[in-house]
C-alpha cells in the first residue's frame, strides 16, 4: 500500500497531467520529498524556508495539516493527502 496524493490542476504540469500520484513516507515532509523524486519541481511550489507556502493548503484525511503539526504531520499507508490552493468563500 501507499499514500495517495491528490494534486490540484495548477501543479499537474509536474505530474504529467496526473490528478493523483502515490508516494511513501512517515511524515508529510518525507512524503513531499518522495513526490519530488518522481515529479521534480513540485516541492518548490509547495514549501519554502518557513514551511508550507501561504497559498497552499494540505489536508491529511480531510484535516488541515497546519493544525496537526505542519510538515511533521504523521502519515501512513491508506491515508489520502489533498493539496489545494487557498480560495475564498463568503
Amino acid at each position: 500500500m501507499a499514500i495517495e496524493v491528490r494534486v490540484p490542476t495548477i501543479l499537474r504540469t509536474y505530474t504529467g497531467g496526473e490528478k493523483a500520484v502515490t508516494a511513501q513516507g512517515g511524515t508529510l515532509a518525507q512524503l513531499i520529498d518522495d513526490v519530488e523524486a518522481n515529479n521534480p519541481g513540485v516541492k518548490e511550489r509547495l514549501v519554502d524556508e518557513s514551511g508550507l507556502r501561504r497559498f497552499i493548503n494540505v489536508y491529511v484525511n480531510d484535516e488541515d495539516v497546519r493544525f496537526t503539526g505542519g510538515l511533521d504531520t504523521a502519515v501512513s499507508d491508506g491515508d489520502t493527502v489533498v493539496i489545494l490552493p487557498a480560495v475564498a468563500g463568503g
Binding site: Y59, D62, E63, F67, V82, L84, A88, G89, G90
Partner: protein
Amino acid sequence: MSHDTLLDSIGDTPLVGLPRLSPSPDVRLWAKLEDRNPTGSVKDRVALAMVQRAEKEGQLRPGCTLLEPTSGNTGISLAMVAKLRGYRLVCVMPENTSEERRQLLRMWGAEIVSTPAAGGSNEAIRVAKRIATEHPDWVMLYQYGNPANAAVHRDTTAPEILADLPEVTHVVAGLGTTGTLMGLGQFFREHKPEVRIVAAEPRYGELVYGLRNLDEGFVPELYDDSFIDARFSVGPRDAVRRVREFLDAEGIFAGISTGAILHAALGQAARAVEAKQRADIAFIVADGGWKYLSTGAYEGTVDEAEERLEGQLWA
C-alpha cells in the same frame, strides 16, 4: 418578542438540541439556527454590523453606493440593510452561484456584476477591487477584511452560545470569509479558553481552484489561525449526505454548507465518544435549504446530487 424594526430583530437565534443525532447523553450536539434571521442567514448580523460601523465612522451617507464581492448570503443581507437604510448596492458575484440567490438579490434591489466561474470567489474579489478603484466614491465594506465581520460574532453570536449552553466544549462553524470563526475564537479564547473552535471548509470542484498561478490564491485578511484549533475540508458528497440526515433525523431543513459543518461536528462527536469524554458541541446552521433547491442537492441519490454540484459554489 417585539422589535421596533426588522433590523432590531437580527440575532438572538435559538439553540436547539439534537437528541437523534447526538451519539450519547454525554456527547451532545446543538444547532444554532442562524436561518431565523430576517433574510434567512447568519450574514444579516455581519451586514448590519459593517454598515453601522461605516455609518459611525462617517464613511456612509444616505444615497451612497455600496460595492461588495459575495457568493450570495452577504450580498442578500447587505441588500436588505441597504434598502432599509437608503443605499444602493452593487454585488460582484461568481456566475456559478444558485439562481435563487440572484433572484433574491434583485428583489431586494441589488445590482449584480457577474464574474467567471473559474476562480470562484477569488475572481469576484479581484474584480470588485478593480471596480472600487474606478469608482472612488463607492464604499466597499469588504467582508474579508472588515473587523466588524468578526467583531459582531465575538459580541453577539458567541456570548449567545455561552449563555444558552454554559457547558459548551466545542463550537463548529463554516469557513468562508473566516469572520464567524474569528469572532467565536476571539470570544471563547477570552471567556472559556478550553472550548475547541473547529472550522469546516467546503471543498468545491476543480473549476473553482482553477487559478492561473499560485500567487492568485487568497487568504482573507481577517484570518488568524491562532483563533481556531482544527480545520476540516468537506466535499459535496459528505455535505449532501449530512444535510439530508439532518432533515431525516431532526427535521431541520438546512443549506448545503451546513451539511459540511454538521459533518465536522459529528467528527468531533465521534472523537469524544472514542476518548470517553463528555462533549457539548454547538454548531452554526448558516442558512436554510430554500436557496439551493435548484442545485439538485435535495433530490435523487447522493451520487446524482454530488454530480450536479460539481463546479457550483454550493456554500
